[in-house]
Symmetry: C2
Subunit: 484 residues, 2 copies
């Protein structure tokens, strides 16, 4: 499989075309479903996405969350309870108005997010300080009528995520949950999936509808545009007051609960995995989430087929309790198979020919660097385990290095104009992240197509100088980027 | 927790009340969500349901299925392609007609089942005999506007299942898939979940809309009513013709594919797990799917708290890589805790007091039989593993024994009248399972509230005598039951 219509034809430097091609050629998804903005997910993405869910769910459970499953529909009356929330989401809601031939008396919404489904129940479940903290999550899809162009795994009218909704007795506990959410993002999204990010405190005009504040993790795509990854919100008591989530404290006094919510969008993380780690040859999967971790390629010489094929089968059977492993028994040539499984992003390839059967020593090749090693049969398991870890570590480091090089400090609009084609984040002095600053943000958007992503969430940066737009004394340092 | 408002008050012999009470008292689900027929699933059910999914998915993958995720919505035009199918499902479909403030130009359906979503893509994916068999499954929820009374886990307007959709080059292969589906039902639903069943070939008037034939596994609930569990359908070429699923065979000839589908409804299996294994004290979970497999209860004597609590923690930490295990550190009395965790259905309880700390020998109690054993600390893991297997085996055997005693052969309508209060299945001679027999089936339904479940799917039974209703020579032996 050379540069034919079967293999990749686009280099990754043509990112947009490369991204579309890699999704279709490696059979991650099919875009031809006949409802606009809805994606058909094929096994090659689903297996990886399931592994990503498992890792994230295990981390949430380690931090005391328990799983729930709420209905996919929300009655209109629930939406109406939190004014900002309905205002923010109303334009995006899909409404069910009919069942069979019956017009429903009250329209029901397909959930665009689950606050207003869950918090009616939280009000029933939370009675006393003994019921707190309440930390629940659900893995589910949500539906939003996006009017912007949709792109697979990046923006769709149906997407797959986890949402964690927590309630506490005090603001302090809620704020430390926001920190814990940021830690989980680091532990899983960065260390396991290899997605670098910065948590920004979103400016007032861009926070979650109904939140006190929003911390959102932005990563970058290879074209230098920012892609929002999980956000965690201090909801404060806004929803709790609207939904009546109250508890009796240790002193028998009635109090209102404090809430947070956190939304790791696995689907979108998968977009980053494809985009950040892939190369001109195709996909490169971090080891733990690869749909197939090891592929065995038989190297067959005429008349010596049998011992080779048997050895391949034997190795697969030996290792299949440790890894997702398979043998390519197809009629294609070894060269075609090498290219094919490289394109599919399988982390480890083992080549087995007659020589290897005899010596019980196999050639093992890793996808990220192409390095080859000879490995004794009884060392295979250990070697692959170590190699898997190292491959993931290498992907993390490479992505980090690139990401860190994409942050540019900029002093003036002229400098911004000159540098903006570099892509990435532009660190600038800015008048204000409160509503006062909205006007300057709009100037940046109109003139440069740059969005204010916010201040760094976990590092205070003191501005020195004046707002890059209006020239008034800067109150904050913010980061700008083009966005998906 | 004695017979107070906190514990179970209904004996299982009042099945309907017991079922409602056990769901609410053990916090499996909450029925108070404000959309009729939609259920809120709490952690105690979700953890078990996830384990059930895992076991079933592993079995499907072992048999060559791969996971996919299809959109939850289906455009109307897809439905219109298979005439019988749309006729069967039309009254139950929820329709999305609006998004934000926009009226959609074409209404879209929330999937009631996914044939018409998936097969448009199968037509694109299947080109040659090399693409066959195509065996895919998805784990998802479906929505049906049920007009009958809904009951948690039994019948709802939203329910959780797996659907496997397979395509083959020949009818023979498709028919052997139907057999494989029946085997999977045995391997997982019977052996792991302890749900006995009979596969019936549904009569013509009761088969799946669009199928050539339907084999459906019926189990029984404790009140003697049948509950349909997975069904597997030979779809033949009906859908393939409507959707254009064709392939070029080895001789370069264009052929139409043969299809099957299989629908293990995990949600409904969970209803059977609750109903079949529970007792007057509450739930009893088969070991592998228990949300918590082992609960440790500290037995505290004043002044001797510390070593006991430390030992409890130590044992939990030692065993938590093998089992879902926890310690009840709450302020409640040991007696209250015993009753509480029995009600919750935890398979194994370990009691640890000062004596046990000293002797390093603990009392281990199993939930199903209440048997106690003394177990040395270094034997705990092995003992619990063995005990878990034995507990599941015991639940399977008990359920089987009861189930087999609920099958009654009946010769006349008088005998049927006399025995029908026993519940279960009534084996009778019947004129015909083709459309000819529909009239007699309606008589049984009207007079006795009994439904014709069909002939045994995997055993041919020769009728001897005449139809129990019309007296004409019987062509088949069928089984009758009241149904959920």
């Amino acid at each position: 499989m050379e540069k034919t219509k079967e293999g990749m034809t686009q280099p990754k430097s043509n990112f947009s075309e490369w991204f579309s091609e890699v999704i279709s050629k490696t059979e991650l998804a099919d875009l031809r479903y006949n409802v606009k903005g809805f994606l058909v997910h094929r096994p090659w993405s689903v297996i990886a996405i399931k592994e990503m869910y498992k890792l994230y769910e295990a981390e949430l459970e380690k931090k005391g969350h328990k799983p729930v499953i709420f209905p996919a529909v929300i009655p209109k009356e629930n939406f109406l309870k939190e004014a900002e929330h309905i205002e923010g989401f109303a334009p995006e809601v899909f409404w069910i108005t009919k069942a069979g031939n019956t017009e429903l008396t009250e329209e029901i919404a397909l959930r665009p997010t689950s606050e207003t489904a869950m918090y009616t129940m939280y009000a029933k479940w939370i009675r006393s300080w003994r019921d707190l903290p309440l930390k629940l999550y659900q893995s589910c899809q949500v539906w939003r009528y996006e009017t912007k162009a949709t792109r697979p795994f990046i923006r769709g009218r149906e997407f797959y995520w986890i949402e964690a909704h927590d309630a506490f007795a005090s603001r302090e506990e809620a704020e430390s949950q926001v920190k814990e959410d940021m830690e989980m993002t680091e532990n899983i999204m960065h260390k396991e999936f290899g997605i670098p990010f910065i948590f920004f405190r979103r400016p007032e005009w861009d926070k979650f509808a109904g939140a006190v504040y929003t911390y959102a993790a932005d990563t970058l795509m290879p074209d230098g545009k920012a892609l929002q990854q999980p956000s965690t919100h201090l909801l404060g008591q806004n929803f709790a007051k609207s939904f009546g989530i109250k508890f009796v404290d240790r002193n028998e006094k009635e109090k209102t609960a404090w809430q947070t919510c956190y939304g790791p969008a696995i689907w979108r993380m998968f977009a980053s995995v494809i985009a950040l780690h892939g190369d001109d040859k195709g996909l490169v999967f971090p080891f733990k989430i690869a749909p197939l971790q090891v592929i065995i390629i038989p190297i067959i010489l005429k008349g010596k087929e049998k011992p080779v094929l048997e050895k391949c089968k034997e190795i697969k059977e030996k290792l299949q309790s440790c890894f997702r492993i398979d043998v390519d028994f197809s009629d294609n040539t070894p060269g075609w198979k090498f290219n094919y499984w490289e394109m599919k992003g399988v982390p480890v390839r083992i080549e087995i020919g007659p020589k290897e059967v005899e010596s019980e020593e196999f050639v093992v090749i890793r996808r990220d660097t192409g390095e080859k090693a000879k490995v004794k049969e009884n060392q295979l398991q250990k070697t692959i385990e170590a190699l898997g870890k190292d491959l993931t570590k290498n992907l993390v480091e490479k992505a980090d290095k690139w990401f860190n090089g994409m942050i540019h400090s900029v002093k003036t609009l002229d400098e911004l104009k000159e540098k903006r084609n570099k892509g990435g984040f532009f660190r600038v002095n800015f008048c204000s992240a409160d509503m006062d600053g909205k006007e300057c943000a709009e100037v940046l958007k109109e003139k440069f197509h740059l969005n204010v992503r916010g201040e760094m969430a976990n590092r205070e940066e003191k501005p020195e100088g004046n707002c890059i737009v209006c020239g008034k004394p800067a109150k904050v340092v913010v980061y700008l980027a083009r966005q998906y």
